[in-house]
């Protein structure tokens, strides 16, 4: 895409690129649905306190254990907290946690992947064997071990996402670098005396971008799932946080009395994970179409 635009001489405006990108994302119904879902959840996360009628831990004692109604759209939980408000406010919490974790993992993974793939040799060997040892453990197990070591807190949940997903991103980036670096124009650039940093960022990185974007979206959806799972297992963020996983955990024992307190946060987790996954698929298709 970048090459094409450069060949045409004049770079198209960002707005135009964005419009074309969304057009491609919306070309297939599934990715259209996924992208819409993702955008809605992002919007909810942004607007959070503006659209939540109650505070995340605001207790309306007289309304405890109420089924969904006009006043409490998703009902209230066993303590009289508004489930709708908690789901809405939890959206920002879970998306920020998993988004931040994913972002750091993508930045770190990209850096390490570029370095490892381009330099090769003992750097590559050392990094990859270390990552292999991390990847040998299932993500959730690794996360539980790490949280057991650091103690459960919001900060350590982000840290865990970074540690669990950096190796995966790095591997993806490295594989693309390995393909690209043998191409003639890289060799030519190197002979022209371009610095290593410039070479990596200007010449190689653009080729990594499509795969990276798809990988980032996928990691994001897994990170949401991971944050929710850790909340459910009681190892991640602690009460009274409106983490959806934690809400499911708390509502589980009251499921006979207040089933809605379980269904809505559980549904939110499923929908946002499906949405982000479909978006990732759409992204992949959009990039491929561009190529």
């Amino acid at each position: 895409m970048l090459k094409v635009s450069r060949a045409q001489g004049a770079a198209p405006s960002w707005g135009w690129r964005l419009a074309r990108f969304f057009k491609r994302l919306y070309a297939k119904p599934l990715s259209a649905i996924g992208t819409t879902i993702t955008l809605i959840f992002l919007l909810v996360a942004l607007a959070g306190p503006l659209i939540a009628p109650y505070g995340e831990n605001e207790i309306v004692a007289s309304d405890a254990r109420q089924p969904p109604s006009a006043q409490h759209w998703f009902g209230t939980d066993n303590l009289g907290r508004d489930v709708y408000s908690r789901v809405v406010l939890g959206a920002r919490q879970i998306l920020v946690l998993s988004g931040l974790g994913t972002f750091l993992a993508v930045v770190g993974g990209t850096f390490l992947g570029l370095l490892s793939g381009y330099r090769g040799g003992w750097v590559d060997e050392g990094l990859m064997r270390f990552f292999d040892s991390l990847l040998a453990l299932p993500a959730l197990l690794l996360a539980l071990v790490l949280l057991g070591t650091f103690g459960p807190s919001t900060f350590s949940v982000v840290g865990v996402i970074v540690i669990v997903y950096t190796p995966i991103v790095a591997r993806v980036v490295r594989s693309v670098v390995l393909v690209v670096k043998s191409k003639g124009f890289i060799e030519a650039a190197r002979l022209q005396g371009e610095s290593q940093a410039r070479l990596l960022l200007r010449e190689i990185f653009p080729f990594v971008l499509p795969a990276l974007a798809v990988e980032a979206a996928l990691r994001f959806s897994y990170a949401i799932f991971l944050v929710a799972s850790l909340g459910f297992l009681g190892a991640g963020v602690q009460p009274p946080n409106p983490n959806w996983g934690l809400m499911v955990k708390e509502a589980r024992s009251f499921v006979n009395q207040v089933p809605w307190a379980l269904y809505f946060p559980a549904g939110a987790i499923s929908i946002v994970v499906i949405g982000v996954n479909l978006t990732a698929d759409g992204l992949k298709r959009a990039w491929q179409a561009a190529d």
Binding site: A61, L79, S253, F254, N256
Partner: protein, 513 residues
């Protein structure tokens, strides 16, 4: 054809009746006495770790021991003293001498008779300071224990102790055969059931002791204690028909999840178990009594009662002397109503006009996290910003951290008499004085209530203690929990006790018998 068959029928009716009658008589004649015992009750519980009565502590451990061994004295479900191995006793007027008469014809499961020497040995072991048993402090007041007859034991005390009989019924005080060394692995009790098999990871199986010294007890042919580490799994096992009895402790959610379950009877008993909210009184901000008063005024007890324990149990009055102790409990002194304006004024007077930030530590078990949440919400209106620190029990109680934190919620179990709480939690030198509180007047009444042999004086002292705690106590006790139990309705006669491990299954029988 039809006619024939009718004739046969007519002729055979008297014959058939005769055969039935004969067989009934025959079966009755052949049946030994123990066949009155029928049915096996399967009880779900957490695995036991300790089997030696001197070391047991959890409810499941006590429940098993209570059916293998006998106490000298029992405590009934309504917290009164009842005879067990001791059928009769006398106390001297000065309260220093107690003489117990033991039941006749009691034998251990190995066939040897139980005598006064076994009782003496058991209590000497429990109070031996060199063994480091949990009971060593409880019995320091005993001067000597003597067998004054084959079936007579005499205890001599150093100081009068109005609760001595309760102390003798301490959970650990099950009578062992003298000189037993393998109580941790062998179950040689005199109790109503004998252990047939014990698999630490699966279950412990007991059968009725045919030589039990109380006639017509136990009524069941056997007991099975089946181990489940998880309480939700226990409830599922009850639903699935694998067990008959599940103790739900104070879990309102499990209780309500079983409501309406066919064939299951739910039992709720009041207890004196409570969650204690306490503020350290020996350093800021709690060293200014206005702060705890403000927190008390900002607390809506009725809302907590409805939300956290869903209206089960009883509303608390900031004293550990709960309504279960009907002879001591008093409602004479009113607990101030919720008054946010007064709370804010008190906080301002204490120098927190711009708000007060507090960390509230709580274990992540029972109803405590929910209580913490509701308090956070209620106190926020008075300008108190609470940050919750919800910790695993091992963290909360680990390294004595719970005695250190400023503001904490601690769970206290139910006891048969209230003096325990005062001595260990609220007296100046109390071993678990978690609020670091010391009040001369309160101490004086605690001392008096714990030593006087005059019941009226004790009742009066307890009343004063309740007044002082409402006025200036460092603790908020918002509720007393109920104890829930679920049992299959094909059984009857279960007397659940506030400490469920002490529940007596000797009188349980198959319904209809």
């Amino acid at each position: 054809m039809k006619k024939d068959s009718n004739q046969i029928k007519k002729r055979s009716i008297p014959g058939l009746l005769g055969i039935i009658l004969l067989s009934v008589l025959f079966v009755q004649a052949c049946t030994p006495k123990s066949s009155l015992q029928e049915g096996v009750l399967r009880v779900a519980m957490q695995p036991i770790v300790q089997a030696d009565p001197a070391f047991i502590s959890s409810d499941p451990e006590v429940l098993v021991a209570n059916h293998v061994y006998d106490y000298l004295i029992d405590i009934t479900p309504d917290n009164t003293i009842a005879p067990r191995l001791a059928v009769d006793w006398d106390a001297s007027d000065d309260g220093l001498l107690y003489v117990f008469t033991l039941a006749k014809g009691v034998t251990f499961h190995d066939g040897t008779p139980l005598t006064a020497a076994d009782v003496v040995w058991t209590f000497d072991r429990l109070r031996n300071p060199d063994l480091g048993l949990p009971t060593k402090d409880l019995y320091t007041n005993i001067d000597r224990i003597e067998a004054t007859g084959e079936l007579e034991v005499t205890f001599t005390l150093k100081e009068p102790n109005p609760f001595f009989l309760f102390d003798l019924s301490d959970n650990h005080a099950l009578i062992l055969k003298a000189n037993t060394t393998d109580a941790g692995t062998r179950f040689n009790g005199s109790g109503p059931f004998k252990v047939i098999s014990y698999n630490p990871e699966d279950r412990i199986v007991l059968e009725a002791n045919p030589n039990y010294f109380i006639p017509n007890q136990p009524k069941l042919a056997g007991l099975e204690f089946i181990f489940f580490p998880d309480q939700v799994a226990q409830v599922e096992a009850l639903r699935g028909g694998q067990v008959d009895l599940v103790f739900l402790a104070s879990s309102v959610e499990l209780y309500s999840s079983l409501e309406g379950e066919l064939g299951v009877m739910l039992v709720e008993v009041p207890t004196n178990q409570f969650d204690l909210v306490r503020l350290r009184a020996d350093r800021p901000p709690g060293n200014d009594p206005k702060v705890i008063q403000a927190l008390k005024l900002a607390t809506d007890r009725e809302a907590i009662y409805q939300l956290v324990v869903q209206g089960h149990g009883a509303i608390g009055r900031d004293s550990p002397i709960g309504p279960m102790y009907s002879q001591y409990y008093s409602e004479e002194f009113p607990v101030p109503e919720r008054d946010m304006e007064a709370a804010r004024q008190l906080l301002a007077a204490a120098g927190y006009a711009d708000g007060l930030n507090l960390e509230l530590h709580t274990p992540d078990t029972g109803n405590r996290p929910n209580l913490a949440l509701v308090l956070k919400d209620q106190w926020a209106e008075a300008g108190v910003d609470v940050e919750l620190v919800v910790e695993a029990e091992s963290v909360y109680y680990g390294d004595k951290g719970w005695l250190e934190v400023d503001l904490g919620i601690t769970g206290w179990g139910s006891r048969p008499y209230p003096q325990f709480y005062l001595d260990t939690m609220l007296a100046c030198d109390a071993v678990w004085n978690e609020s670091h509180f010391c009040d001369a007047e309160l101490d004086q009444y605690i001392q008096k209530a714990g030593t006087t042999m005059n019941e009226e004086a004790r009742t009066q002292a307890y009343k004063e203690i309740q007044r002082i705690l409402i006025e200036r106590g460092p603790v908020i006790i918002p509720y007393f929990s109920a104890q829930f139990t679920a049992v299959r309705d094909s059984f009857q006669g279960i007397g659940i006790k506030p400490f469920w491990g002490r529940t007596d299954l000797r009188l349980v029988s198959v319904a209809g018998n």
